[in-house]
Amino acid sequence: MPSNSLQHWNATRIVELDEIANAHLQVGGGARGRRYATEQINHAYTMLLSSQFQGFCRDLHSEAVDYIVRSVNPLSLRAVFRAEFTLHRKLDRGNPNPGNIGSDFNRLGLIFWDQIRAQSRWNHGRIGHLEDLNNWRNAIAHQDFDPAQLGGIINLRLATVRRWRQACERLAAVFDAIIGNHIAQITGTQPW
């Protein structure tokens, strides 16, 4: 059984991403203006993907904190630990870029990205996709399309967004497994 956060990702967040993916398909035909319309949908899809992945990461962090803190005794320390783990959490305000994700999960007592990279060599590329996704997210949000920051391109294609989504979906499962195992190691109980 995966974490509550991954179940929510699979049951709800993915469905919402599917809805905007379907909207892209609805804009069909070869009429002038289609390319512009689909590019705007690609931008919206990118923003939504980044925000949903941010939501998943924050959920997983909250869930992990809850499991870890429940293993703490005396009880009077629990709220203190909760505050330490969640105060000024970067995922509450910042993008789900690798720096912010690593910073928050490292507070749980592991070097997060070392664990992720060690799990599979494919994760190196997925981390790169996550960086690209958030660079584009920032470019769209600020309407500042600097090719130097965007892999040399300024036109976003659906295939690219799909590739990022696949990376996020895979990373979500990897995060779930790595954090679950980490909690089991430090608390002695497998959380999910």
């Binding site: 509550n4 956060s5 929510h8 959920d59 909250s62 869930e63 904190v65 809850d66 499991y67 429940r70 009077s76 320390l77 629990r78 709220a79 203190v80 909760r82 505050a83 969640t86 105060l87 509450d92 959380p191």
Partner: protein
Amino acid sequence: MSFTLGTTPIQGVVIDDRGPIGANRVRIFRVRVPNDPYDEDVIEMPEDELALENRSIESIPNPDVVNYLEHGGLVQILKANMSGGKNQPRVWLGRDSLGNVVHTFIAERGSVGGATIPFFALHDNRLFTPKLNEVLAFLSTFGLTAGDAKQVARAVGTAP
């Protein structure tokens, strides 16, 4: 809502329901924790560690108000409006987690006050004399008598 942070009872306000994402699907809430007169903090708490709090805000006796304002409270309050402009701050007095008097800029956490802080009423951490009457009127909004207000002003001192 209330909970205990270490040994300190905290009254906070739930600002977000994160859903049933905790262990055994317990709901997780984001709770705003007051830190008056400074910015509040936000931490996450599970529903089974929170208790409903119905405590009403207590009134503050005048001697406690005078004591707070004389010993640094008034200077700290007046420092909050040295730059003027739009939306000048309003201030209330309330109680902190230990029952001490403290000022707050959040109406719901105050029990007395609510007036706009006089603009540029300090000089070298003493009351700027041209603003003295304005400050005395401001002090009366905390329920102080004219005599109490003058006592506070004397304690803080005036500067030309």
